[in-house]
Amino acid sequence: MGFEILVPENEDELISLMEEGDYQFLAGGTDLFVKIKKDLINPERIIDLTKAIDGPKFQVEQNEVKIKATTTHAELAESSLINKEFPVLASSAGAVGATQLRNMGTIGGNICNASPSADTLIALYLLNADVDLVSSDGRRSLSIKDFITGPGETELASGEYVESITVPKLSGKFRHFFKKVGRRNALDISVCSMGFILKATKEAIEEIRLAYGAVAPTVIRPGAVEDFLQGKTIDKETISRAQRLLKEEISPINDIRGSAEYRETVALRTLEQIRQN
């Protein structure tokens, strides 16, 4: 037991602290300190990133929006920019934990914790976001899908941190949907979470992206279902064929929050949301 918390003021200080020995990063602490308290990890040096990753939380460019990794869920959920450009990201951040956890927890922490049921990951998978990494060697970006490799596992190298997330702007008008099913709304990590963005006319689906949480080792985009739905009319038959395809793409597990069977039922049922409107 016993650790020290170091708070570098800028990127240079941060990089030299990383080079001095083993460390764990700290942003909001809502995952890290719980793990320490539960004796799952026992770090001696903790590096707080919140001062070193500075500057405005949101940066709008021509074709994309850059979001600092230390942006809190409350800041995302309340941002008029995010509500306008990426409603699904605002609503997924608004679904995290409870009021206090949204004030503390950050999007960078949510990504790096890499839980299969992390709420904002649903939106980041849907929006094809990139994770921007910084180390003493320079900068690189990975798509969210490539960055997250398994439950709690990422491509983050030692000596590297997430500085921002880049989200490409959408062209055209999409309907955004996010839903999380849990026993209690707050605090409970979900039984199943689901989101989609959909561009459709009365006749047919022009573009659809789907993402599912808590039904596989990572958040997933069920590609076969997306491909099948492209160009289809949204009717009962389409949905039930999509549900059969989805069943093949998910691999829910049993745990204390729900049985595999229950998770599958919930996941399949959420597809019916596409028919609303």
Binding site: I5, L6, G29, A98, Q100, R184
Partner: protein, 161 residues
């Protein structure tokens, strides 16, 4: 590291290596025992304080994280020995039974009333989702927040954090 912060308007400055929770500092060093430890892992809300006006869990916050910041605990509410209207409303409605959860509910609800002095029951329920009460069944807690909002509106007062 050297950290500086204020608690209920008083300035503090000290050296810390980091391994002290805000919760323990407030209770053990400053005697502010209105801050409660329920679960210690973010699940009950009993330890809620305001950091820069934002409801924050003091069980998952360590001293280096509050450098330069303003902290408010339940002891910092009310003026001249008079309870804050939200505290008064909890007394009035019976929103307090054993009282263990009450400071946490009050600190988190203050922020809701600052944003919206006329919240619906559903909005209140959602806002306090991270706070657990083992006694009241929540109905009277929701009543209290609504009553405080009503009093504030009648008097033309605002919650300012």
């Amino acid at each position: 590291m050297r950290v500086e912060f204020t608690v209920n308007g008083e300035q503090y400055e000290l050296d810390t290596d980091g391994d002290t929770r805000l919760l323990d500092y407030l209770r053990d060093e400053l005697g502010l025992t209105g801050v409660k430890e329920g679960c210690g892992v973010g699940e009950c809300g009993a330890c809620t304080v305001l950091v820069e006006g934002k409801p924050t869990l003091s069980c998952l916050t360590y001293l280096p994280q509050i450098d330069g910041k303003e902290i408010t605990t339940i002891e910092g509410l009310g003026e001249n020995g008079k309870l804050h209207p939200l505290q008064e409303a909890f007394v009035e409605t019976g929103g307090v039974q054993c009282g263990f959860c009450t400071p946490g509910f009050i600190m988190v609800s203050l922020k809701l009333l600052e944003r919206n002095p006329d919240p619906t029951r559903k909005e209140i329920r959602e806002w306090v989702e991270g706070n657990i009460c083992r006694c009241t069944g929540y109905t009277k807690i929701v009543d209290a927040v609504q009553l405080a909002g009503k009093w504030l509106r009648e008097k033309g007062d605002k919650v300012e954090l």
